[in-house]
């Protein structure tokens, strides 16, 4: 099957999703000031998860908050999950406090407001989860997440440069960028929050996408060594076809395990598993649709500029 012939369809497909994601991110940027909804980890502020005995009335809760003088409280119902069918859970968030000394005041205020204006039986046992993040820490975490992502990509690039050739590394990193962009775009499109664990998931899928790309590259490298007479596009196509069964199987199996996590893993890991579900699909796709064609395109570009070289076999691997 000639995969390379489909490259324009692939490009179109990728462009559509990337652009859709970017547009959504732009819209978010204008409305909330960040490209994607940010979790408490990065935004700072107070987030209290409360569980009630009966179905909570979000309107009344909102009224209770304003009656107590709490402004900018956001109330969110938590979706029922497969094994929590009677959730009755609500997420109450207060925006970031400029002044760290009033950090805990937010949570106390929420509790008081609920007790006074909603239901006097509310007590500490209704509290499932509390997250309070001051502005200092929020920025620290943001910086850490960004650094981690950059170092990760750089590390991959260097490793691939070392094991293959620079162009292989570049192609793989571009594929990873593409995957990250589309995954983050999916979060923007579906209005899902990005928290620290989601960043962890994104870094993992960077690793996974690399995995996938490397399997194809390894095969290309091996085939190039074996037959010096075939043209690069033919070699690439053959390599993809040869590794296809393995790719589909592994991605399929990993996808099934991650899907299990998404369905059964509960609400805490929801963002994390969603990122992985999208990431694994796109990561597999990108190895065939982005990374491999990039190699061929690079060579074509070099040939057209007069440097006639078939992409030489990469360095002999050790071991």
């Amino acid at each position: 099957m000639d995969w390379l012939r489909l490259k324009w369809y692939f490009l179109a497909f990728s462009m559509i999703f990337s652009v859709a994601g970017l547009i959504s991110m732009g819209a978010h940027m204008r409305s909330i000031g960040s490209p994607v909804p940010l979790g408490v980890d990065f935004k700072g502020g107070t987030q209290v998860q409360m569980q009630f005995d009966q179905t909570p009335d979000t309107n009344r809760i909102r009224q209770a908050m304003s009656a107590a003088g709490i402004r900018d409280a956001s109330i969110q119902n938590i979706e029922k999950t497969v094994d929590q069918p009677n959730g009755n859970e609500v997420l109450i968030s207060l925006p970031e406090q400029q002044d760290e000394s009033s950090l805990d005041a937010g949570r106390q205020q929420i509790m008081d407001a609920l007790q006074k204006h909603y239901d006097s039986t509310i007590g500490p046992s209704n509290v499932r989860n509390v997250q309070v993040v001051g502005p200092t820490v929020g920025k620290q975490l943001e910086k850490q997440a960004l650094l981690a992502t950059l170092y990760s990509m750089a590390g991959m690039l260097i490793y691939l440069w070392f094991r293959f050739q620079l162009i292989y590394g570049v192609a793989a990193v571009v594929a990873c960028f593409h995957d990250t962009l589309i995954t983050v775009g999916a979060f923007a499109l579906l209005n899902k929050e990005i928290s620290l664990t989601v960043i962890a998931a994104i870094l993992t899928l960077v690793g996974y996408s690399m995995n996938d790309t490397i399997v194809v590259f390894d095969r290309i490298r091996e085939n190039l060594r074996l037959s010096r007479r075939e043209s690069l596009p033919d070699v690439v196509n053959r390599s993809i076809n040869q590794t296809l069964s393995r790719t589909v199987l592994t991605s399929g199996l990993t996808f099934l395990t991650v899907l299990s996590l998404f369905i059964f893993g509960g609400q805490v890991l929801n963002g994390f598993s969603f990122a992985l579900v999208v990431g694994i699909l796109i990561g597999t796709y990108s190895s065939i649709a982005i990374a491999a064609p990039m190699l061929v395109a690079w060579q074509e570009w070099r040939t057209r500029r007069g440097k006639v070289t078939v992409l030489p076999a990469a360095k002999r691997p050790r071991g």
């Binding site: 993040v133 200092t136 991959m156 870094l203 592994t250 990993t254």
Partner: protein, 539 residues
């Protein structure tokens, strides 16, 4: 060949045994309950699974430095007075620079005396400069000393927090320095039942001081400033007070206090509620350390009838009249309710902090959410494992058993490692286990697909297996290394739960290198040995 194989099998069994020991230790029995108990002793559950509180506190070391220099200012004044040297003021000119003290207005003839005196007493801690015609000196605290003081403040704060946490009876708390030299403290309190329990630790984390009242109460800040002649001199400060006024109404007022405290923080040794024998009213009875007692005696004997204010967290909490000289044992009287007396005593006791603590971050996971998370994580893991195992059996037939065995061993090694090293399992950690399953089975898929290719090309089973492993090895190493690299970066940059994820993923993949390649190979070889000539590999 056979002997080699037997050695290899022995190695695998040994590894298996070691890992099982890692998971369970030596269990008290072999019932399901005993095994679970043994396992939870070895593998620690993270806060997000056990429930508990996670705090990041900032130690305001500036306060300790400020207190130290304030103290020095007061001492210098005393010294100058004793030496009969005139001065116009001794103060800290820049509120932002706590380490700089200025002495002004020393007449020229006393300048050298003053300089000598300052140097002899303070040269260890301060750099003294100035004198001569200008009649002013500056003392700057030595940078090394500042850093030493800041570090000492942090360790004292950690001690104080530890005391309070112990008093709450929390098992396995974690209190340590955090971050890179920013004087932050991390406090992890597993098993804290409900969130209000944390409050007692947090609330008491305020520095307690007693200051002399220069003037007040004033209605508001303008009045207070006006009373001082229009601007606030450097050695006093304004503090707000909200409390009962005469007539029983709540009101806010402003006091003008001496900036240097009389006694503060860990000058207090103890504080308990008591009843005044004369008035029958509730009061707080406190004791000071000896050295602080001397200072307090000195001050109170000279200032009978004046007011002093108990300041906490930048607000005036109580104003009391000095009834007589107090050495190291005293009472704070007022119309206290029983709760107030208890609270104030507790505040005095636990206010023995060298500097205030400020909350930067707080996370609390209720125990119910923790158990839910465990259940959900394990369900997802089991479903994942079963699906993968079933698939491998169906698709690869006989060799599928091979892959499944390797998978189970992989998990055992992973858990064994975690138990042996006392690693912490978090919810993302469980996700890491699930991911290890998915990615780990990739190695087997790579090998098996290659073997199938070789078989299709007509190779004999032994050769096909050989070639399959040889070709797949390179790719397996490459893919594992890249994923481990990103997991390592996550471990370095991540917080607690994310670290747990990076750990399980990394250990799982390393274990996978062993199981997918070595163990699978051994199983194949053992099977090949038993095969009759002409029989095909079931794959």
């Amino acid at each position: 060949m056979k002997k080699n194989l037997n050695n290899k099998i022995l190695l695998i069994v040994v590894v298996l045994a070691v890992c099982v020991y890692g998971i369970f230790g030596v269990p008290s029995g072999f019932t399901g309950k005993a095994l679970m108990e043994a396992m939870t002793k070895r593998i620690h559950l993270g806060l997000d699974l056990r429930g508990g509180a996670h705090l990041i506190l900032q130690v305001k070391v500036e306060e300790a430095v400020n207190a130290e220099t304030d103290n020095t200012v007061a001492l210098i004044k005393q010294e100058l007075n004793t030496a009969n040297v005139n001065y116009s003021q001794v103060y800290k000119p820049d509120p932002a620079k706590a380490t700089l003290i200025k002495v002004e207005g020393v007449p020229a003839d006393k300048a050298s005396d003053a300089r000598l005196m300052l140097e002899s007493k303070y040269t260890n801690e301060y750099d003294v400069a100035g004198g001569d015609q200008t009649g002013s000196f500056t003392l700057t605290m030595k940078p090394l000393l500042v850093t030493a003081l800041e570090k000492k403040t942090v360790s004292q704060a950690i001690e104080a927090i530890r005391d309070r946490v112990d008093a709450l009876g929390i098992s396995e708390p974690q209190i340590q320095e955090y971050g890179l030299g920013d004087y932050q403290v991390l406090v992890d309190l597993p098993g804290v039942e409900n969130e209000s329990q944390i409050e007692s630790i947090i609330q008491g984390t305020n520095r307690l001081e007693i200051h002399a009242v220069v003037g007040g109460p004033y209605k508001d800040e303008q009045e207070a400033v006006a009373s001082q002649g229009g601007s606030i001199p450097a050695d006093v400060e304004l503090k707000k007070f909200s409390g009962m006024m005469e007539g029983g109404s709540m009101a806010e007022s402003v006091y003008v206090l001496q900036r240097a405290s009389i006694v503060a923080g860990n000058d207090f040794r103890s504080a308990d509620p008591g009843i005044n024998s004369n008035t029958g009213q509730r009061e707080v009875e406190f004791t000071l350390t000896n050295e602080a007692g001397d200072r307090f005696y000195d001050y109170t004997s000279k200032n009978v009838g004046r007011n002093m204010a108990v300041v906490m967290n930048d607000r005036v909490r109580e104003v009391a009249v000095i009834k007589g000289a107090i050495r190291d044992r005293g009472e704070i009287e007022g119309a206290f309710t029983p709760e107030e007396v208890q609270a104030l005593s507790k505040l005095l006791r636990t206010g023995a902090l060298p500097a205030s603590l400020q909350q930067l971050e707080k996370r609390f996971v209720g125990a119910s959410l923790g158990t839910d998370s465990i259940r959900q994580g394990i369900t997802a893991a089991i479903v994942g494992i079963l699906v993968v195992m079933a698939f491998m059996l169906i698709y690869y037939r006989g060799s599928g058993i091979n892959a499944d065995l390797a998978l189970i061993l992989n998990l055992v090694i992973l858990l064994g490692f975690m138990g042996a090293f006392g690693a912490t399992l978090t919810l993302p950690g469980i996700a890491g286990v699930i991911l290890t399953i998915g990615m780990g089975v990739d190695s087997n898929v790579l090998i098996f697909e290659r073997i199938r290719e070789e078989v299709r090309a007509g190779k004999v089973p032994a050769s096909a297996v050989d070639q399959g492993f040889a070709h797949a090895w390179v790719t397996i190493v490459d893919t594992h290394v890249t994923t481990i690299v990103s997991a390592a970066i996550l471990f370095i940059f991540g917080s607690g739960p994310v670290k747990g994820f990076a750990t399980t993923l990394t250990v799982g993949l390393i274990a996978n290198l062993f199981t997918a390649v070595f163990v699978s190979r051994v199983i194949f070889d053992a099977h090949l040995n038993k095969m009759k000539p002409g029989e095909l590999v079931s794959i």
